[in-house]
Assembly symmetry: none
Homo-oligomer: 224 residues x 2
């Protein structure tokens, strides 16, 4: 069972340390989890067998990273559930401030800016949210076409919903997933408003100066 892998405190600490997308050596992960290298080795081989992490040999070192964004997404979901029941473990979220601000969750925008975006879209009636279900309003369609050149027919997919609420790891509130969430993130990249961090495997999303300005103009709150 996958969940039992994540359930162990030592392994959970390791996985949390890997949540920023960077690869860490076995020793570093051991220290991160507060255990000896031989114990860490045992854990890491189990995580690898479960498909949660992938090793990369480099000289005498073995670097481990999360397998892909799906794994990160599930971990994020678990952290979200843990957070809302106050059942969380030591770490309350990413300590990296850049990661808290904006990051990739599967293929859409998460973090402070992701939550803020959905908030604004909701208050401006671009979407209507009922629990986990979100639907795009006609006002929202007009908005997307006008400002982001996104039309509804670009968003249809046989198995995936257009809009979906996704629990945010660091903010503990919902951000926007689904084909729309993915399309908007892609558009931000195309417009050179933002780009995934160059560091291999990093989930950080860096906004450019002008990108941040444009984003704030569309989705910024009253503050700032």
């Amino acid at each position: 069972m996958i969940a039992s892998l994540v359930g162990d405190p030592a392994r959970a600490n390791m996985l949390t340390a890997l949540m920023n997308g960077r690869a860490l050596t076995a020793s570093e992960l051991a220290q991160e989890a507060g255990i000896t290298p031989q114990t860490a080795s045992s854990h890491l081989s189990k995580l690898e067998a479960g498909g949660l992490v992938e090793p990369e040999k480099q000289g005498r070192h073995r670097y481990y990273r999360l397998t892909d964004d799906d794994v990160a997404g599930v971990l994020e979901g678990l952290a979200g559930l843990a957070a809302r029941t106050g059942h969380m473990r030591v770490r309350t979220g990413p300590k990296d401030p850049a990661l808290r601000r904006a990051r990739i969750c599967y293929d859409h925008l998460a973090g402070d800016l992701g939550v803020q975006m959905l908030d604004t879209m909701r208050t401006r009636n671009l979407v209507r949210q009922k629990k986990q279900d979100i639907e795009l309003t006609t006002e929202g369609e007009r908005f997307l076409a006008k400002h982001l050149q996104i039309s509804p027919d670009m968003l249809t997919h046989p198995r995936r919903p257009v809009c979906k609420a996704c629990l945010d790891w660091s903010e503990r509130r919902h951000h926007l997933a689904g084909t729309l969430g993915a399309a908007m993130m892609q558009r931000f990249a195309e417009l050179k408003w933002a780009a995934r961090d160059a560091t291999p495997g990093s989930r950080v999303v860096n906004f450019t100066r002008t990108g941040e300005k444009q984003f704030a103009a569309l989705f910024g709150g009253e503050k700032d």
Copy 2:
């Protein structure tokens, strides 16, 4: 840690059994997980403390359901990860089809048709439901008098409520109980729309051809 809750095989089996959105009793979940009721009780209290499931008391039974869609979503994600590394599990299917369709619950109609009836009554504003409490609207009173010759004064009882939501055994959704539920079932029998199965001890309710038609005319959905 939330993940460790899901990680235990017995608890994972329980949660998987709840994934269809229906509620199950503690004993049923015990059987589903292949453990004794006292062990299941321990597991369920932990799941409840972790905010993964919510109980609903009904008579001697305790029905458990997943807290909300966020929980189900995370479980889906975990199952997805498990599936791609080949750690799948199996699902269970329904049993007696006749019993699922229509049966007696105490003295009122249960099963697929019972749930359907309450659904329709709710959407047509014949009743208003708030959680477990149901109240008859004036529209509902008119409807009952016109189509089933049931008047409100037939329904008063010192200890029993007129309307009550009763969790359905097979559908795991609410059907209508209380003196109204009983009166309607009785009326169906008097009109020869339906009758309890002749088999001694059987709880199956058989609808006649015309009875099914009349019932569908009053409470049928769009389909059929």
